[in-house]
Amino acid sequence: MADGDLRIGVFVCECGSNIAGSLDCSAVTEYAATLPDVACAVLNKYTCAEPGQQEIKKYIKEHNLNRVVVASCTPRMHEPTFRQCVSEAGMNPYLMEMANIREHCSWAHLNDWDGATAKAKDIVKVAVARARLLQARIESELPVLKDVLVVGGGVAGIQASLDLADAGYHVHLVEKEASVGGIMAALDKTYPTMDCSI
């Protein structure tokens, strides 16, 4: 499937000792460099930090990369970060793939150095295999309506409604009971100020 022009950059993150403390990040990086279509494999202390991101951008330019694999934490944490990073370097964000070697590897296998290292290599290999087939995608923009629904008219719902209404937004505040106030309205005084709740 590879079109021959693939140039993948793999960036392995140590995450301080969060990853490097339980597996051999250097070995993972060396292994990544041997995978098909990988143009460069780089080891970072913190890939998500500014210097780490700068390095990704630098390598994209220098090596003319067209795919990036970041082997670090869960994409639920930093996928937006790295998508943004590669797009700033002119790459389509959907051509970036993450390999989760922290939550799914180093943290789950704290006392199995060899096992965790072997698994991390595999996770990177799978991410590279997927990255080779990634396609550039364009996100569609949807309009956001300006009104807000607040469900519940206790102290939290009241405060949120007032803040938003004061900021100029139209709020629909829905309360199940016949009056707003919730639990707070039934309290005599509240701590730490010892003043009236209403």
């Binding site: 869960t74 995608r137 803040d163 005599d188």
Partner: protein, 624 residues
């Protein structure tokens, strides 16, 4: 409270419930049921004439049942809106004319016995869920005698008895003899931090400080009262809290470490006695009080299930709603455009609720202010000329995003991209590879399977995990440093509904000893009910595998939520045990059987396709 009633930009809908919410971040469609209150909200000026003539006497819920109200009443004096309400269950009605007295005296003719529930619809860009909490009911903790002894009350009841707006206008008296008690005991952690099945294991956060406040109120009003607080730990960690705790001690309130196992009533005096082990001194102490206050904990609201299922939210183990990230996104719901404020997320006091509410409002403003939001390019796309119009995708799409399709007329389906949420169930169910699931394409996932199994396949457990629940559950397991064997390899899909039967068969054909398909629990599915199709598909696969002489147990299906890190780790250990039972001979047999079956199916398909109209375009290549 008053401000929300008169703010020009707040549409206040009281006595109203959410009937339905559909849509997605930036574009929710809301239906609210405004229940009939039988009093015209716009006209009622709260003159109170109706209440005077109402002959019905009912329990006043606001006063915790310590006093009575009429069938037509004001919920409490400061109610917003300041409008009467007629309780349908209490009212005698007027048809046939049984009463109708209130209606007769209402000069403004506000009372309408025929008022009906109204359905109100509107569109919003964001939703803040601030549905609050319930107070723990101590009835089940019979050892504290709440239902047997009148002089045992809860902290909520205490609030009404000490309040100037309460049934006794702030004169603190005990229920049995209306006398002001001189000796009052507080029992902490009632329904909180329990391990015996009664109550809840979590700390309710607010009860320590609430009791400290109560003790100071009592000392303010009645300086001579002897107050003893029985506690496990006093948690006074917030700003100004320790100061209040010290003030309470200085005022003479005694804090005794240890809670009673049981309390008893003296039938003659109606006093409450108890024996407590003081764990600070080791002494066994007897205490007698005229009144005992149970410091009851906070529990998730029992009616929050409606909003939970409408917005596809999840709960943490304690039953409160789960936030997007406990530290970094504490007021964001995992569902886009939805935010939390107050006790719906965890037990919070007034200050924390206000802080969260302002945070939720600010998070909402960021979204609204942007004016538009980009949607991940993870939607399905029709592959031109391959669709036969069979319509299976139309049936399985949870969002009605696919329409049309007529097999006889050879009309292909149409995919409405804006309505597609990207679960991929259509692509998994399509028998003709006519749907391409962007960013989760067949070829991409097959390449992942191949990469996992090209070396030492016997050592690998191929795991499909959905993005929202199971993948996040695996994240939580790691975050919590739960340890499990290194054999599992995860392939993420947005929904378990994306897991094509061919993926599973391909993994087995490539030598996988065990395959796991994991997704959200049924009620948690982020794509309404797409995971029901996952189950159907896996059940069919079990049948097919069995017919081919392959042990169906080697394909596992587990529902693991984002909050179930523990279940994830446990499942991985169990799968590892299963993996060790699988022999190489068994895997070799599987590989061979599946290969034969696949070649047979491919040949059959080819023959069928070349038969009727040979001139027609070539079918899409089989993915395997």
């Amino acid at each position: 409270m008053m401000d929300v009633g008169r703010h020009p930009r707040i549409n206040l809908l009281t006595y109203s419930e959410i009937d339905n919410i559909s849509g997605y971040i930036g574009n929710f469609h809301v239906t609210v049921r405004k229940k009939a209150r039988f009093v015209d909200e716009a006209e009622c000026n709260a003159c109170g004439e109706c209440e005077k003539v109402c002959p019905v006497v009912a329990v006043d819920e606001f006063q915790q049942g310590f006093s009575s109200r009429k069938a037509i009443y004001m919920p409490f004096p400061q109610a917003v809106p300041s409008v009467y309400i007629l309780n349908e269950r209490d009212c005698l009605g007027h048809n046939p004319i049984a009463c109708g007295k209130c209606s007769d005296v209402c000069e403004k003719q506000c009372i309408d016995f025929d008022m009906k529930d109204q359905l109100i619809e509107f569109d919003v860009g964001a939703v803040i869920v601030a549905t609050g909490m319930d107070v723990y009911d101590p009835t089940e903790m019979d050892e504290y005698g709440y239902t047997r002894y009148e002089n045992v009350i809860t902290s909520m009841e205490f609030e009404r008895l000490i309040s100037a707006g309460g049934p006794t206008t702030g004169h603190f008296i005990r229920p049995t003899d209306r006398e002001t008690p001189k000796h009052i005991g507080f029992i902490q952690c009632v329904g909180s931090r329990t391990q015996n099945g009664k109550g809840n294991p979590y700390c309710s956060n607010i009860c320590c400080m609430n009791t400290i406040k109560d003790s100071l109120l009592l000392k303010d009003h009645y300086p001579d009262t002897e107050i003893k607080v029985f506690y496990i730990d006093i948690r006074a960690f917030g700003k100004g809290f320790e100061d209040l705790f010290q003030r309470s001690k200085q005022a003479g309130v005694q804090y005794i470490r240890g809670v009673p196992g049981e309390v008893f009533e003296d039938p003659a005096t109606k006093n409450i006695t108890m024996t407590v082990e003081n764990t600070a001194t080791g002494a066994i102490e007897d205490h007698e009080f005229e009144m005992v206050v149970l410091s009851t904990g906070v529990i998730p609201r029992n009616d929050s299930e409606v909003i939970r299922s409408l917005l596809s939210l999840s709960r943490t183990e304690d039953g409160f709603f789960m936030e997007s990230h406990p530290k970094l996104k504490p007021v964001d719901a995992p569902t886009g455009g939805v935010y939390f404020a107050g006790c719906v997320e965890s037990p919070t006091d007034v200050k924390d609720s206000v802080t969260q509410a302002s945070a939720a409002a600010a998070r909402t403003e960021i979204l609204l202010n942007a004016g538009q939001i980009s949607v991940e390019a993870i939607t399905s796309e029709l592959v031109p000329d391959t669709c036969t119009g069979c319509g299976i995708c139309v049936r399985v799409c949870p969002f009605n995003a696919i329409t049309g399709g007529d097999a006889k007329a050879k009309l292909p389906v149409e995919i409405v991209e804006a309505a597609c949420k990207g679960c991929g169930t259509c692509a998994a169910e399509c028998n003709f590879d006519a749907i391409l699931m962007k960013h989760f394409e067949d070829a991409q996932i097959m390449a992942q399977i191949d990469a996992i199994l090209d070396k030492d396949p016997m050592e690998k457990i191929v795991t499909f995990a959905c993005n929202w629940c199971s993948y996040a559950g695996a994240d939580l397991a790691g975050l919590s440093r739960m340890q499990y064997p290194t054999t599992q390899r995860i392939i993420k899909t947005m929904c378990s509904g994306r897991v094509d039967a061919n993926f599973v068969l391909h993994a087995f054909e490539q030598g996988a000893p065990i395959v796991l398909v994991s997704g959200c629990h049924f009620v948690d599915c982020h794509y309404i009910d797409a995971n029901r199709w996952t189950q159907k598909r896996v059940e069919k696969l079990w049948d097919d595998l069995e017919k081919l002489g392959i042990r169906p147990e080697r394909l596992q299906l587990e529902w693991i939520s984002a909050a179930e890190g523990q279940k994830w780790a446990r499942t991985m250990k169990e799968l590892e045990e299963m993996r060790q039972q699988v022999t190489e001979e068994e895997v070799d047999h599987t590989k061979q059987v599946l290969k034969e079956a696949r070649l047979k199916a491919e040949a059959k398909k080819k023959a069928k396709e070349s038969k009727p109209k040979a001139a027609e375009k070539a079918p899409a290549a089989a993915v395997a």
